[in-house]
Assembly symmetry: C2
Homo-oligomer: 423 residues x 2
C-alpha cells in the first residue's frame, strides 16, 4: 500500500456532514439575500492579476494571492476576494444593467496565510452589494441585511454587533486636530490595527508617524467618542434608516473602524462577537471608485463579505448550529435474496417515482446488517420484502427510530409510507 496522498495545506475536505452545514449556511444567506430582492451571480475563480493590482491593497495582492502563469504564459490569480470581479462585470455591461443592482454571491476564495483557528487558505464567502445608489440609505439597507442575517441564524444583538464608521468623518476629524495630510494614511492603517497593539506600542507607533503628545490625546479622545457621528448628515441619515429598517439593536457607531482594503471611500463597518473571542465576522463599506478603476463609468457601490468559518465557529461555541439530517434518505428498501431482486428494485423505483427519497440494498446480505446500515445513514423507515410478504402481495415496514413494525398491501404502500414519514 502506498502512503495516503495528503490534501493541500489550508484546504478543507467537506465530508457529507460538513457539506450539510455549509449548505445550510448558504441557504440562510440565500434566504436573507432574496428577502431584500437580491439576485445571485457568480464571477470566475481565475482572474487576471491586473484586476487586483490597483486597489485591493498591497498585502492582499503581493503577499497573499495565489498567482501563476498558465500554459499560455498569462499571469492568473486565484481570486482572493470578489469585489474587483464584481466591478469588472458591472463595467462590462454598464449600459444594459438596471441600476441600482442588488447582487449576491457565495463561493470559494484563496489567500496564502498561515492556517489557524477560523482561517484556512481556501475559504468560502458570501458577498452582497448594492450598486448605483450613493445614499446613506443604501448603506443602511446593506447593514440591515447583515442584521437580518444574524436574526436568521439565531444570533442575538447581545452576542454580535455591527460597528460602523465613516472614513470621511475620520479624515475630517484628523484634519481638525492638526494631523498633516501625509500622516493621515499611515495613521488610518495604525488605527485599523489598534486593537492588536498594547497601549504602549500604540503610543510609540503614533509618535513614529510624527504625532505630538497633545495630538495623541486628542486622537484617543476622538476614538473613544461614540457620539462623534452626530452632526454628520450622512451618518445621521444612516442611523435613521437603520431604525426604520428595524435593525438598530445590532448597529453601533465605532470611530476606530477603518477596514484594510484601499478601495473603501466612505462608510465602513465590521461585525464582531460582543464577547471578543473571535476575529471579525465580516466587513464591508462604500467603494465608489472601483468600477471606474477597472475601466467602467463611475458608479457608487456598497457591500460586505462574510466568510463561512468564523460565523460557524461562533454558532458552534454558542450551541446554535442546527441539527441536520445524516443523509437525504427517507426510506431504505431491503433485499431478501436474488429471487426477490427484481421485485425489490421495482419497489424502490415505485417509491422514487412518487417523489420519496430511497436508498436500497443491491446485493444479498443478512437482514440485521441491512437494518444497521439503514440506521447509520439515518433512514426514517425501512420497507421490507421477504418471501412471506411477496406471497401475500404485501410489503413490511419498520419505523427505525421506534422499532414500530407492520405491513400493508403493495397498492397501499406509497400512501402508507407517506403517512409514516409525515408522522
Amino acid at each position: 500500500m502506498t502512503a495516503t496522498i495528503r490534501p493541500v495545506k489550508g484546504t478543507r475536505d467537506y465530508y457529507p456532514e460538513d457539506m450539510a452545514l455549509r449548505a445550510w449556511l448558504y441557504d440562510q444567506m440565500r434566504h436573507v439575500s432574496e428577502l431584500f430582492g437580491y439576485q445571485e451571480y457568480q464571477a470566475p475563480i481565475l482572474e487576471p492579476i491586473g484586476l487586483y493590482a490597483a486597489k485591493s491593497g498591497d498585502e492582499l495582492v503581493e503577499k497573499q494571492s495565489y498567482v501563476f502563469e498558465d500554459r499560455g504564459g498569462d499571469r492568473i490569480t486565484l481570486r482572493p476576494e470578489l469585489t474587483p470581479s464584481l466591478a469588472r462585470m458591472v463595467a462590462q455591461r454598464q449600459n444594459q444593467l438596471a441600476f441600482p443592482l442588488r447582487w449576491w454571491s457565495f463561493g470559494p476564495f484563496w489567500r496564502y496565510e498561515r492556517p489557524q483557528k477560523g482561517r484556512t487558505r481556501e475559504f468560502f464567502q458570501w458577498n452582497i452589494d448594492l450598486i448605483g445608489d450613493p445614499s446613506p440609505e443604501a448603506e443602511a439597507e446593506i447593514v440591515a441585511i447583515a442584521a437580518a442575517f444574524f436574526k436568521q441564524v439565531g444570533l442575538r444583538s447581545d452576542e454580535v454587533q455591527i460597528r460602523v464608521n465613516d472614513r470621511r468623518l475620520l479624515a475630517k476629524e484628523l484634519e481638525s486636530i492638526g494631523i498633516p495630510e501625509q500622516a493621515r494614511t499611515p495613521l488610518l492603517g495604525l488605527i485599523d490595527r489598534k486593537d492588536k497593539l498594547s497601549p504602549e506600542a500604540w503610543i510609540l507607533q503614533t509618535k513614529d508617524i510624527g504625532l505630538a503628545n497633545a495630538q495623541i490625546d486628542s486622537l484617543n479622545e476622538l476614538l473613544a467618542n461614540k457620539e462623534l457621528w452626530r452632526g454628520s448628515e450622512s451618518l445621521e441619515r444612516f442611523f435613521q434608516a437603520i431604525e426604520a429598517f428595524g435593525a438598530s439593536e445590532y448597529v453601533v457607531f465605532e470611530p476606530s473602524i477603518i477596514r484594510g482594503l484601499q478601495y473603501y471611500t466612505g462608510t465602513v463597518f465590521e461585525a464582531w462577537d460582543t464577547a471578543g473571542e473571535f476575529r471579525a465576522l465580516f466587513g464591508g463599506g462604500r467603494y465608489d471608485n472601483l468600477v471606474s478603476d477597472v475601466g467602467g463609468k463611475p458608479v457608487e457601490a456598497v457591500g460586505f463579505a462574510v466568510g463561512d468559518l468564523v460565523i460557524t465557529l461562533l454558532l458552534q461555541s454558542l450551541g446554535r448550529l442546527p441539527e441536520l439530517a445524516k443523509s437525504p434518505t427517507d426510506v431504505f428498501v431491503t433485499l431478501f435474496d436474488v429471487s426477490l431482486r427484481d421485485k425489490s428494485f421495482a419497489i424502490m423505483n415505485a417509491l422514487r417515482e412518487a417523489g420519496i427519497r430511497v436508498a436500497g440494498q443491491l446485493t444479498s446480505e443478512k437482514l440485521g446488517k441491512q437494518f444497521k446500515y439503514a440506521d447509520r445513514i439515518g433512514a426514517k423507515l425501512a420497507v421490507i420484502l421477504g418471501p412471506d410478504e411477496a406471497a401475500k402481495g404485501k410489503v413490511g415496514f419498520k419505523v427505525l427510530a421506534t422499532g414500530e413494525q407492520g405491513e400493508c398491501t403493495e397498492s397501499e404502500m406509497i400512501a402508507k409510507v407517506r403517512q409514516l414519514l409525515e408522522a
Copy 2:
C-alpha cells in the same frame, strides 16, 4: 477612463440570468441525487499534482492541467476532475465511513483546452458515485440515476441515449480474435477515437498497431455486434436491473464505448444526444483500484460526471430550458419623498418580516421611473405610499403584469399582498 480589464480566456461570468440557469440545473441534480439517497460532499479545488499523476491519463495531467507552485514551493493543481479527490477522501476515513457510500457533488473544474462551443476552460460538473459495492446492480443504480436525471430535465429517450460497454468483455473478445496483449491498450485508445476517424484512417491506424486484415474484419464485426453482451453474466445482470429500475428505454449496449480515463476497470458508459449534434453529455464507469492507488484499502467504485455546458446547449437547442424569474423580488415598495421615507422603509421591513421578498426605493425619484425599475427587475407587485394614502392610514398597490390597482389599510396589507402574490 482606463481600458476595461478583460476576464481570463475560457472563464465565464455568470450574470444573474446565467446564474439562475446554473442554479436550476444544480437543483435538478440535487433532486435526482437525493431521490436515490445520495449525500452531497465537496473536495478542495486545489490538490497536489501527485493525486492525478497515477491514473487520470497522460493527456489530462501533462497537457491540460493547471499546475503551479504556491508561495511555499509546493506543486499545486487546479482540479481537472473530481474522482481522484473522492478516492483520497475515502482513503482518509475508510474505517469510519458507512459503506456503501452514496455521494454526489457539484463544482468547478479547469482544463487548459481550446475554448469552443460546449467547452470552456473553467467548467462545472455534477459527480455522483457509489462506493463499496462490486455488483452489476450498483452499476445499474448509477446508470438509472443518469436516466432519472434525463427524465427530470425533460429529455426523452428518443433524444438522449446512455451507451454501455464493459472493458473486460472487450479485452476478452480482442484476445479471442488473436490481438496480442501488447497491442490491446493502444487498440482500446484507437477504438475510443473511432468516431472521430474516417473509415480509411481507421483501417490505416489499426494496421499501424499491427492488426492483419482478417483481424480488422473481426474487430469491425464485433464493434457492430449489439448482442455481444448476451452471455456476459455481469452485463446480463446489469440490463436486468436497469429494467427493474424502469430505465431500459434510455440504455443500450454499445461495444465501441471505452472512455479515456485510465482508471476505469470494467463497465463504462457515455450519454449522447441521439441526433449526434453535440459532444458526449457525460461519461462514467467502474473504477475499483483508485482508492488503493491513492493509499487506501481496495474498495470498489462506480460513478459518472456531467458537465453543465453540453447539457445546457442540448436543452436550449430543443427549447427545453425553463423560464426563470428575473429576480427574487415579489414586491417593490415605492418612495414618495423624504417626508415619507421612514414610513416607506417601515413598510418594507414589515413585509420582509412576514417572509415576503421586497426591494424598495431608497431615494426620491419620479414615480414613473420607480415603476419602470420595478418592471425591469420582474417584481410582481408594487406597494405605493403617497401622502393621500398615508393620511388615510392606507397603502396603494399595483399588479405590474395587469396594471390592476387598489388600496387597503395598513393592517390589511400583508394579507392583501399574500393574496395578490398567490393569484
